[in-house]
């Protein structure tokens, strides 16, 4: 149990926790805005709007940093699933989560310095970080400046599709986050992956 590899540079860890905090704040305030109701004990609308706007802009900045740093350091390559056999490896990973993990089977693709993510992780992270999150951010920016939205679409206000995308993509990010946090407990010990995200060292 003493094999350790150093996987995560400081910038990535700092970004990760900043991003995580902002996402949770955005999820809570976003839900308070969307489900606003005098009878529900949510964050008060006015406060939620204020916090959501600030956290939203902060997330935009953090995302810009993430993309730039990924380009500069070459870390973006980690998110590209490497053929051949991507689907087969994904399937093996799914079978592990659905079956092997209960029987104490070893992780089929433990992280290495060259390949930090398994194929399933790479695909899901890629879709979330490079498709869904940009949709949330772009629609959020339009929400901040509603004049950017088309005036009318099919006789309805042009902000409707923007708001719908923002809401649904936001919901997708939250669902991902739930699964992501849970899978964080599947290291050698339930806490070891969280520790890795703080120290940068992976334990096996």
């Amino acid at each position: 149990m003493s094999h350790r590899i150093y996987l995560l540079p400081p910038w990535l860890r700092i970004w990760h926790w900043t991003n995580a905090t902002l996402m949770i704040v955005l999820a809570v305030t976003g839900a308070s805005l969307h489900f606003a109701d005098p009878g529900l004990h949510l964050v008060p609308f006015s406060l939620a709007a204020k916090i959501h706007d600030i956290a939203g802009v902060a997330l935009l900045v953090a995302y810009g940093f993430f993309v730039l740093a990924n380009i500069v350091t070459g870390n973006w390559w980690q998110y590209v699933p490497k053929p051949p056999g991507v689907l087969a490896r994904c399937w093996k990973q799914i079978v592990f989560y659905g079956w092997g993990i209960f029987w104490g089977a070893p992780h089929p693709y433990p992280p290495t310095e060259e390949a930090n993510f398994n194929a399933l992780q790479a695909i899901v992270y890629w879709v979330i970080m490079y498709v869904v999150v940009p949709v949330v951010i772009l629609t959020g920016v339009v929400f901040l400046f509603p004049d950017l939205a088309p005036a009318k679409i099919f006789g309805l206000d042009g902000l409707l599709p923007v708001a719908m995308l923002h809401y649904l993509a936001g919901a997708a990010v939250i669902l991902f986050m739930l699964a992501h946090i849970y899978l964080g407990t599947t290291g050698v010990r339930p806490t070891s992956l969280f520790k890795m995200m703080i120290t940068g060292w992976h334990e096996e």
Binding site: A36, D37, P38, F45, D53, D157, A163, L178, Y182
Partner: protein
């Protein structure tokens, strides 16, 4: 009263009070439908327009007029034709004193008051206005015309498009509350001198007041719901500490927007698609109000299933690990 006659009476009362129920012919000076009469009125009004339009000012029909004075009293026939009083003859309200030029010195005194033709409505409005903040110190300075230009104003029920209603109705308030000139003139009558409060500063608790004021009316927050059915809006402008400050009054599924500003809005595909407050969706997306109950239920359901699924997975892992450890030892 026997039930039958009671309901008959009720039906009658409804006919008499429902907005728009009074037929045009009920009100003095109502626009006729007879083409010959329409043409007669058009010609009669054209006599006033000879002088009282931009064109009249450029080509004055006589040399002995004070053009600087005339320039203050120009009217746009198109605007008048789009108002409540379209089709009416100028003389019906203005009397005979303006037919000849120079106008009779006392002509102004005989211009008809709103109440001369709209007795019931005007009475109700006056009752509400008596309790308005404007009546407290300035009752004799405020007339119906202070807010309603009878040549331009069109009642919300007939404007239809909520954005246009907002623009028209807010202009009534903003033209004074944003003008040092008008506000200064009317507030000079106050017992103590009052500095005009800056509208943007007093509403800085509201995010993006400009956006809000293009989408909702001042009266949405500053008046109570109309207590009489025959009037869509109340004229009782409340003191500022009673004004609406709660965002969820509009930003929630039970938004007052649907029953106030949007009560006359056209229906649209939004209601077929199942949106809450669909009438609002025709011209604004209002966070918290214009949402879809089914999609919301699906999202909450998915969230619940995910949490349950993950907790279940975790529980099985814990139980299996427990048995594995027992077997190993």
């Amino acid at each position: 009263m026997r039930p039958a006659s009671k309901s008959l009476f009720a039906a009658f009362a409804m006919l008499a009070t429902a907005p728009g129920a009074a037929t045009a012919a009920d009100v003095k000076g109502a626009a006729p439908t007879d083409p010959a009469l329409i043409e007669k009125i058009r010609k009669s009004n054209a006599e006033c327009y000879v002088c009282h339009t931009e064109a009249g000012l450029k080509n004055p029909p006589r040399a002995d007029m004070n053009l600087a004075e005339l320039a203050k009293f120009l009217h746009d026939p198109k605007q008048f034709d789009g108002s409540n009083h379209t089709g009416m003859e100028c003389k019906v309200c203005h009397g005979q004193g303006y037919v000849a030029f120079p106008h009779a010195p006392e002509a102004k005194k005989s211009i008809s008051e709103c109440g001369e033709c709209h007795a019931t409505k005007a009475l109700r409005v006056e009752t509400q206005f008596k309790d308005s903040v404007h009546a407290k110190n300035l009752a004799d300075r405020f007339t119906c015309q202070t807010c309603h230009d009878p040549h331009v104003y069109k009642v919300a029920a007939k404007v239809g498009d909520p954005r246009k209603i907002v623009a028209q109705d807010n202009a009534m308030c903003v033209d004074c509350h944003n003008s040092d000139l008008r506000y200064g003139a009317i507030s000079a009558a106050l017992p103590t001198k009052k500095v005009r409060p800056d509208l943007y500063a007093t509403h800085d608790w509201l995010p993006n007041p400009r956006l809000h004021w293009s989408a909702v009316r001042c009266i949405e927050c500053h008046t109570p719901m109309s207590p009489v059915k025959s009037l869509a809006t109340s004229h009782e402008i409340l003191a500022k500490d009673k004004a609406e400050k709660a965002c969820v009054t509009c930003h929630s599924q039970d938004s007052v927007l649907a029953t106030r500003l949007y009560r006359f809005a056209a229906t649209n595909v939004g209601s077929d698609l199942g949106f809450a407050n669909a009438s609002v969706l025709g011209s604004a997306y209002v966070v918290g109000a214009t949402r879809h109950p089914l999609i919301d239920r699906a999202v909450i359901g998915l969230f619940g299933l995910t949490v349950l699924g993950l907790l279940g997975h975790g529980a099985v892992r814990i139980v299996m690990a427990f048995f594995r450890r027992r077997r190993a030892s």
